[in-house]
Each structure stands twice: as C-alpha cells, then as structure tokens.
C-alpha cells in the first residue's frame, strides 16, 4: 500500500495536473505532443523518413512511423510488426510498454497526448451540434484490436510466414494523413504505384475527418484499437478521476459537458472517458477532481460551504 501511494504520488508530481490546467491548457499539451513526436523537419525537406535509433522506441499514442517527421514508433504498428514476424507469437517489449502506459495513465493519453485526437478536436470546433455514436459501434474498436492488430498478423501470414499489418493497411487513417498524402505527392516512384488501396484509405480519412464535424472524436469512439486497449485499464489506472458523492448536487452539468457520452456522476472512470477534464471544470461543487490532493479537497469544502441555498 505504501509503495502504491508513493508510485501514485510520483505520477501526479510528474503530471502536475493542476498546474497543467492553469499554466498550459490541454490544447497546448496536445500541440506540443504533435510537434514533439514529429519534429524531424529534414524528413519533409528530404522527402524521406527518420532512420535514427530513437525509432526503436514507441510513443504511447498512434503516430505513424512512416510520417517524414516521426522520431519514434507507433505502438500499434510495432505490435503488428513483431507479431507478424516469422516464428514470433508474443511481443514482450510492445505489450509490456502498452500495459505500463495503460496502468499509469489509461485513456488520459487519448485526451492529452494523441495527435490524431488533437486533429479531431480541432475539427470538432467547426460545429457545436454533435450527434452521439451508436453504443453498439463502440465495440468495433475492440474487434479491431483483437482481430486486425493481434490475430490476423499472427496467424494469417503469407507463404514465408510473415504477417501483414492489417489494421495499418485497411483501417488506420493516421498513416495516410501523416505520411501517405505527403510522400505520394512528392515521390514520383510512389505515385506510380498507387492503386485502389490508396484511394480507399484517402476516402476513409476524409470520411473520418468529415464525421468529426458532427460526432465528437469518431475515430477514438469507434475504431481506435489503442484506445480500446487503454480503455481496459481506465478504471484501475493511477491517473483517474475521483468522484465525491457527498459533494455532488446532481445538477447534471458534467453529463451535459461530456462529449464522450459518459455520465461522470454515475461512472467517472468509464472506459470511454479520455480524461479531458471538461466535467471537472464544469462541476460547480468540485465533486469531480483529478486527484485526492488535500489542498484541493479543502478548497472544495470551502466552496461548498459558500454555495447559497
């Protein structure tokens, strides 16, 4: 128990979420994540990709390693690459990394760090009117994770025993957005080889980006296998949302604010919650908070007392 408290304290001290909220906002953190993970500008100028040793290290979010600016690897692409390798049946490195990120942060990574989440957030600003995604569709991302990321690359191999990265090839719009469009536009050899698959993926990308105007983060809600994996850890991750029932006045503001269709006062750490913190901001009595910081609790208790009847 002591060890757990120390670990949790360490994670919070690294994140300093209250300070992130006041000094940097979420948009800035997302923008820094996007720029930081794709900072190899020579890649864009030389029309190639980064080939340094840091490419052996995964980032905790979807970021295609075929983006000319990418300095690190995509964990989902890496997982498929390792599982698809001949005579490989398990990826200790990538699965260990994903479990570690899941237990530490859960879907906080989706809300604060994912570049494609950031792109969808920006597009979502076009229209305020948003539709809910059908609940049944939310299970597709789990099918993507099990089938396209794990089982098919593992067992559906070619004649020499090498698997294809099925999710990257048939679903993932990130590679098309970050690498495909640019590389095909500037490289005539690649341009000459494009066919149905390329047009299909560009169409898929456009469909996701357009639907982001009407549905908040459709890719994260419906298709993302990484979000599905982190969702499994969302209830037990060290970074989580605390709900103090005694402070709740059942105003429903948190539910109205949540764009991931979560009801925070019923299930604050729902598998769909991306820890964007909007419900925390909206709560008038501070019944929701990122941590159980004593100072924050005292501040909340003072505010509760000040609320007129």
């Amino acid at each position: 128990m002591w060890c757990y408290k120390k670990l949790q304290g360490f994670v919070w001290s690294v994140l300093v979420l209250d300070k992130i909220k006041s000094i940097f906002n979420r948009r800035l953190v997302q923008a820094l994540s996007l720029v930081g993970s794709n900072s190899y500008l020579q890649g864009f100028m030389q029309k190639t990709i980064y080939k340094g040793n840091t490419k052996g290290v995964c980032v905790p979010f979807l970021n295609c390693y075929s983006c000319p600016g990418a300095r690190f690897s995509c964990p989902i692409g890496s997982l498929q690459a390792v599982l698809g390798k001949r005579n490989n049946y398990f990826s200790f490195y990538v699965i260990g990394f994903l479990v570690l990120m899941g237990i530490l942060f859960g879907r906080f990574i989706c809300g604060f760090l994912c570049p494609f989440g950031f792109v969808q957030d920006m597009i979502a600003k076009i229209s305020k009117k948003k539709y809910k995604a059908l609940k049944l569709f939310k299970y597709i991302k789990y099918i993507n994770l099990v089938l396209l990321v794990i089982l098919l690359p593992l067992f559906f191999t070619n004649s020499v025993g090498v698997g294809t990265p099925y999710f990257c090839k048939y679903v993932c719009p990130v590679g098309t957005l970050e690498g495909g469009i640019f590389l095909v536009a500037v490289n005539s050899a690649l341009r000459n080889t494009i066919g149905f698959l390329y047009y299909y993926k560009v169409t898929m990308l456009i469909a996701i980006l357009v639907s982001s105007v009407f549905i908040y983060r459709p890719f994260c809600k419906v298709l993302c296998p990484l979000g599905a994996l982190y969702a499994l850890f969302n209830r037990i991750s060290l970074v989580n949302i605390k709900f103090e029932m005694y402070a709740c006045v059942s105003c429903g503001k948190c539910e109205k604010t949540c764009q991931m269709d979560v009801v925070p006062f019923i299930d604050a750490n729902n598998m769909e919650c991306i820890r964007c913190g909007k419900c925390i901001k909206a709560c008038p009595t501070k019944a929701l908070s990122f941590n159980t910081n004593k100072k924050r609790k005292e501040k909340r208790d003072e505010q509760i007392i000040k609320i007129p009847e």
């Binding site: 128990m1 060890c3 390792v82 200790f92 990538v94 260990g96 990394f97 479990v99 990265p165």
Partner: protein
C-alpha cells in the same frame, strides 16, 4: 502487494525481456523503412 504495483512490475519485466530478446531491433527495422501498407500504397 497492491495489484497495480504488481501490474507495473510485470509490465516493466516484459519490457526488459523484450529489450534483451532484441525485439527493439524488429521495431527499429520496421520503423526505419517506409511502411507501404501504412501509407496506403502496398
């Protein structure tokens, strides 16, 4: 021991095993070449 600490320790052990078994090289090999499937070409 708290089960969360146990999961953290297991995940770190998996990473260490992965690094020692040179899985990083597989990731590096894949990531340093343009992945045609990923960009929608092949």
């Amino acid at each position: 021991m708290n089960y969360k600490v146990f999961i953290v320790l297991v995940s770190i052990s998996l990473i260490v095993i992965g690094v020692l078994s040179r899985e990083v090289n597989v990731v590096l090999q894949k990531a340093t070449r343009i992945c045609l499937e990923c960009i929608g070409v092949g």
